[in-house]
């Protein structure tokens, strides 16, 4: 059994409980060991980027914990992932900002050599676990369920830093969903931004960007949207009703974490993957899965 360290980040730990729980259960099913980073801190998210050195140093502190624990680090949030990868990149390449961060870490008594790989959850699922292994765990295929795969921005861009996927047309989530037996929609907005980072400043822009994504999914007849980031999820699921009332439109489309859908296909119960925690009711997707497909 391979073991990884796990950096949940403030968002997943604080409010996106369905992601945390479904990750834990799915990894357990797949025989993967997970150890939460000890005493991790906020990576700085997109809120502290007006001070790049600060984000790099805060993120590097987390990476240094993974390094000390000696396990590759799984990150389930696009934003945290991007920040930790940038930190690794800047410090490894000894850039000016990397040197500022290293100095700050030293003064805080932290040693970091940028040696431990930082991996997005999706990267580990597709490249370490692999399609064959996922297939072997499918007990209740998601037959008949139409899913729109939404990747978001920071898991694929900048591709020089988040190097595991194609930045224009990523396919890892498509492939996993197909393996689960779902019908995957050709989703043009798969890497277009949900606008989450300006929600607290310029809500209209955020809503307009998220609405484009919801609209395409509904127009193409998706039963749900699959995501791998708590920010995307908060925008598309949590804010969906507010977007509807502001824009005078109705979407009513459930937004599930990929790990929730994996859990369902692996035969876990809906409470195991916390389907009751989604804001747009998610349980009714279970009715859309055709029974004939079951094993």
């Amino acid at each position: 059994m391979k073991t990884y360290s796990f950096y949940p980040g403030c968002f997943v730990e604080g409010s996106e409980v369905e992601y945390a729980k479904s990750c834990e259960k799915v990894f357990h099913e797949l025989g993967i060991g997970i150890k939460e980073l000890e005493d991790w801190n906020c990576c700085g998210a997109l809120e502290l980027t007006t001070n790049k050195a600060l984000v790099i140093a805060l993120s590097a502190r987390n990476a240094s914990i993974a390094e000390r624990m000696g396990y590759e680090c799984i990150v389930p949030c696009n934003i945290c992932y991007n920040n930790l990868r940038k930190a690794e990149h800047e410090i490894k390449n000894k850039t000016k900002v990397g040197e500022i961060a290293i100095k700050a870490l030293k003064e805080a008594g932290i040693n970091y050599e940028a040696k431990i790989p930082i991996r997005h959850l999706l990267d580990v699922l597709i490249n370490d676990v692999g399609i064959e292994e996922i297939k072997a765990h499918v007990k209740k295929p998601l037959s008949g369920l139409k899913v729109a795969p939404y990747y978001g921005c920071l898991v694929v861009r900048p591709s020089k830093i988040c190097a595991f996927e194609n930045p224009v047309n990523p396919t890892s989530m498509d492939n996993i969903l197909e393996t689960l037996g779902a019908e995957v929609i050709n989703f043009e907005h798969k890497v277009k931004c949900c606008g989450g980072s300006t929600l607290m400043g310029d809500r209209d822009t955020s809503f307009e960007l998220s609405a484009e994504i919801l609209e395409e999914a509904v127009r193409k007849g998706a039963d749900c949207i699959a995501v791998v980031c708590p920010m995307c999820h908060t925008m598309l699921d949590g804010q969906q009703a507010m977007i509807e009332s502001q824009m005078g439109k109705k979407f009513g489309i459930p937004v599930l974490y990929l790990t929730q859908l994996m859990g369902v296909a692996m035969g876990l119960s809906s409470s195991d993957v916390a389907l009751d925690k989604n804001i747009v009711p998610a349980e009714n997707i279970l009715n859309k899965i055709s029974k004939e497909g079951g094993v």
Binding site: D39, G44, L48, L54, A57, L105, A108, L154, D202
Partner: protein, 188 residues
């Protein structure tokens, strides 16, 4: 129009994230790929870069649309010159904020206030106490009406156990505080 400041580009290039400014050859790739420019033509990353190179310091740092960038990194991805446009916009925001603190610029978009509160929560606890920072921000910027608007979602989240009332602090807060202190020494 304000006076041109030939030193502005160097000021930007000294900041972490601004180093690549001079590489821009004005191809417009960033603006074409920008989802915000698509819905708000007044937001134009290529124009900010050009204005910065020319030295239009007052215009750039006083531009309220600067705060509309959603940090999606499309421009960063598609720039053939590796200008790292997303980070450059953050540098411009940071300089604009410093001008605002000196009273020379007035920023209408409340995002920077949220970011300051967020930073303070991280500095104090090591993590962000999100629900509290968000609630306070809505109260400050939109008052009771804003909070009422947020109530249905807030209530649903609360009953689903998605809102924590207490801040979780890490044990080595001193390390995080040291990081803040050292990194901020470099800011003027």
């Amino acid at each position: 129009m304000g006076e041109l400041d030939p030193g502005f580009k160097y000021e930007v290039m000294r900041e972490p994230g601004g180093e690549q400014l001079k590489m821009c050859f004005s191809c417009t790739g960033c603006t074409v790929s920008c989802p915000v420019s698509e819905i708000e033509p007044m937001y134009n990353p290529r124009r900010y870069i050009h204005q910065t190179l020319v030295g239009m310091r007052d215009e750039v740092l006083g531009d309220e649309h600067l705060w509309r960038c959603v940090q999606c990194h499309s421009c960063y991805e598609y720039c053939p010159q590796d200008v790292k446009v997303t980070e450059l916009i953050s540098v411009l925001r940071s300089l604009s904020e410093r001008e605002a603190k000196k009273g020379r610029v007035r920023i209408k978009n409340p995002l920077y206030l949220f970011e300051n509160a967020f930073a303070e929560s991280v500095r104090r606890h090591g993590r962000v106490h999100e629900s509290m920072v968000i609630a306070k921000h809505i109260w400050k910027t939109k008052g009771l009406k804003g909070l009422m608007e947020f109530m249905p979602l807030g209530k649903a989240m609360f009953f689903k156990g998605k809102i924590s009332l207490f801040a979780k602090s890490i044990s080595k807060r001193d390390q995080v505080q040291k990081i803040f202190e050292i990194v901020r020494e470099g800011e003027h």
